[in-house]
Amino acid sequence: MSGIFKGAFEPNIIAFLCNWCSYVGADLAGISRIRYPANVKVVRVMCSGRVNPLFVIYALRHGLDGILIAGCHPGDCHYLQGNYIARRRLVLMRRLIEYVGIDPRRLRVSWVSASEGAKFADLVKEMVDEIKKLGPIEQFHENI
């Protein structure tokens, strides 16, 4: 949790964005100067299909409060089908963490195209608000 002001809970969220759509979309949000909270930190991958769902477990275990994974819209994948495969994996992973009692809202998957800068910004705002409500991830608290 990144508390800038003492006490205030600032969710620490990691975002895996695909290089061709979502990362460009995030850049567009910047170019268009659309403001959104600083809680989300982006990791660039070539394709949402690169994201191994076990990254989610790893991130949660290391105390991240939320994980966002964004890729091209179904059908628009730069690599034809990466996002389709990612979708299956992540839908299952989300159900799995929910089943063991981790709030599934901590894992978000979205399709953000290169021209959806505004959507990306909204997505981040929404997710940050949501996770602020959920509070810091307690499950794996004693990290080290």
Binding site: A38, V45, M46, R50, F55, H62, H78, I85, A86, R89
Partner: protein, 658 residues
């Protein structure tokens, strides 16, 4: 391991919202970091020199640059590393402009985020290893989408450079908007006269394959090697046989019954038609939405057109065809739509017949237009004509905040033409701000005023009918008092908008649209012709409103960008192929299944004397998506530069933001 960290101010773009100095101080404490500096403009020559010097002096192994988006300057800094003898893939960039300083206004938060990102980048950099980009050949052919003046110019320039060009136009003829114009400002030369020769050049050019009445429906592949699927809509006319004589149109039983799009509805045509006399190709087209025979299977006893066509060009059995094109570069010259004034009903368009748009006036003025150049309202010549500026431009209410940049001048041209044709008619122009910035424009504006055209700074609120007359009510913003202006004809200076299907095109080519809906260039100043998907360039109004000279200039620019790519003949493909640890691979074949390019296959490897199957990659086929790495259960297959370890170390670092 020695890492250098470089944080860019980007003038104030970054420094204004991020405490760069603090970040640099922090970076110095990170593992392996031996140098950590900030600079005004890292991408500038001195900035680059700074990095090179450090690489030499401190024997740096890895470089972290925190600046703008890698989409912007990754190649720049990769080159720096190479010039200093480092492998270009030993660079890790941190996007602290587009994804930080430009979106986070709280300096403290933005700085904090930057520090954590830099920490992640440094950790990842330490785990990067040198890679060699692969060279792949470029298909020496270009695709130009859109046959307006921009597309035409682009196609001609590329072809004149000796490269094959496919020019795809969705209408039956090339020519685009310019073909609809009567005269062009400020020189008043006839639009057709300067455009038609170029159209003909296109049709005659040995290296240009013209595909009219066709649309791009799918684009796959990447810079240098795009696979494009084009849909050829059926014309129901065998273009090889059609002589363009026009007898079919004469004979068509729907003759004069169908609105003519080219004349923006100011005239009627047949179901089989030629958009305009100078059309290229000079081939007729059957409009399947209206043709009786196509709609109902019968047209009288026997379709009249078929009866009269001696060359038997009419063929109702034509089906739509799909053709696959391989091209190395794509230029998008998709053009624009004109603003639909119905969105502003207060101006009476569609309500009063004598409220028309500028484009409609163009057709009325045109000698080849429906009225052969005569301007009449209900058969009478208008005694007073009123022009209203900025319809659908600079107007937040309709969501177009931009200036369409051509309306002031084309209205001036219209006013002039009317004065020329009807010297006694009173011509008033209601403007908001007069913009005549182009070469010879201001002079033309003066000239028009001298012709007796009255310019009034009036903000028109509504238009209503008063007997025969139309009354425009508004506020004279110079006098600061309300005013009403009577006229017989009102011409709306409608603005330019993105094409209705711009979104589809954006998806098709994976090029972003700006907030205004026009396609987005990589950089508004320095890379106005390129898009974020490399190998795809922009020409003309699809990138934003332009007048003809600008469009032509940009078209030539885009052409030369494409030619640069094609003539280089090779492009570097990122070496983000996977590496396989054969001793870990279980041979389950998951990676083979998920690979969309069949780049992975089994090979027999010897494991302690046993022959076992293990995955093996064909780098030539691999496009580097990394799906295999995520599919692998044993972690045996790892994508270069995106290994589990390299990615997870970032996760770990970011997790430390507590």
């Amino acid at each position: 391991m020695k890492i250098g960290v470089y944080v860019c101010h980007c003038g104030t773009n970054i420094a204004a919202n991020i405490d760069v100095v603090k970040v640099v101080g922090y970076a110095a404490t990170l593992p392996y970091v031996v140098v950590s500096r900030d600079y005004q403009y890292m991408c500038s020559d001195p900035g680059q020199e700074l990095i090179k010097k450090d690489i030499y002096e401190h024997k740096l192994d890895r470089i972290v640059v925190a600046s703008c988006s890698p989409a912007m300057h990754e190649p720049t800094f990769q080159k720096v590393l190479e010039e200093a003898g480092l492998n270009r893939y030993c660079l890790e960039m941190v996007n602290i402009r587009e994804q930080c300083s430009w979106v986070h206004m709280n300096r403290e938060e933005a700085t904090r985020k930057t520090m954590v990102l830099v920490a992640g980048a440094a950790a990842r950099a330490a785990l990067l290893w040198p890679l060699t980009a692969r060279e792949v050949n470029v298909t020496p052919t270009a695709l130009v989408i859109g046959g307006g003046i921009s597309g035409i110019q682009t196609a001609l320039d590329i072809a004149d450079n000796g490269f094959r060009v496919y020019l795809v136009e969705k209408e039956p003829s090339i020519g685009g908007r310019m073909a609809q114009l009567d005269k062009t400002f400020p020189t008043l030369d006839c639009s057709a006269c300067i455009l038609t020769p170029k159209m003909v050049d296109v049709s005659r050019h040995p290296l240009i394959e013209l595909m009219t009445y066709a649309e791009v429906v799918d684009v796959q592949g990447y810079v240098g090697n795009f696979k494009v699927k084009v849909k050829k809509k059926p014309r129901y006319i065998d273009t090889a046989k059609c002589t363009g004589c026009g007898l079919c149109a004469e004979a068509c039983i729907l003759r004069g019954k169908i609105l003519n799009e080219f004349d923006v509805g100011t005239s009627k045509r047949s179901a089989v038609y030629l958009p305009f006399p100078q059309a290229v190709p000079l081939k007729y087209t059957v409009d399947k939405d209206n043709c009786m025979f196509i709609r109902y299977g019968v047209c009288g006893k026997y379709p009249a057109c078929k009866k009269v066509c001696s060359s038997e060009a009419i063929d109702f059995n034509q089906k739509e065809e799909f053709v696959e094109l391989n091209v190395g570069a794509i230029v998008v010259a998709a053009g624009y739509d004109v603003f639909d004034p119905k969105i502003k009903p207060e101006l009476g368009y569609g309500l009063y017949r004598n409220v028309i748009t500028g484009l409609e006036l163009e057709r009325l003025c045109s000698a080849s237009g429906p009225t052969h150049g005569k301007i009449k309202v209900d058969g009478k010549e208008p005694r007073a004509v009123l022009f209203i500026h900025c319809v659908g431009s600079r107007d937040a209410q309709v969501g177009n905040e931009y200036c369409s940049r051509v309306c002031c001048m084309y209205t001036a041209k219209h006013a002039y033409l009317i004065k020329e044709k009807l010297p006694n008619t009173k011509v008033t122009v209601c403007y908001i701000d007069m913009r005549a910035s182009g070469k010879g424009y201001e002079e033309f504006y003066k000239k028009v005023q001298l012709e007796g055209v009255q310019y009034r700074r009036v903000n028109v609120a509504e238009v209503y009918q008063k007997g025969e007359k139309l009354v425009a009510r508004g506020e004279d913003t110079l006098l600061g008092e309300p005013c009403e202006i009577e006229s017989d004809l009102i011409v709306l200076a409608v603005g330019l908008t993105p094409k209705k299907n711009a979104k589809d095109t954006s998806v098709l080519l994976r090029i972003p649209q700006g907030s205004d809906g026009f396609f987005l260039e990589v950089h508004p100043k320095l890379r106005p012709l390129e898009t974020t998907s490399s190998g795809v360039f922009l020409a003309g109004c699809c990138q934003g409103p332009k007048d003809i000279p600008e469009s032509v200039a940009q078209a030539s620019g885009a052409a030369s960008k494409a030619v640069m790519l094609l003539s280089k003949g090779k492009v570097l493909v990122e070496p983000f192929t996977p590496q396989i640890s054969e001793d870990i691979c279980t041979g389950c074949g998951f990676c083979i299944e998920v690979c969309p390019y069949e780049a992975i296959s089994f090979k027999d490897v010897n494991r302690y004397g046993y022959s076992v199957k293990a995955a093996s990659v064909n780098e030539a086929l691999c496009k580097g998506c990394g799906a295999c790495s995520a599919a692998c259960l044993s972690g045996a297959i790892q994508q270069n530069a995106f290994t589990d370890e390299q990615l997870l170390t970032v996760v770990k670092m970011l997790s430390g933001d507590t």
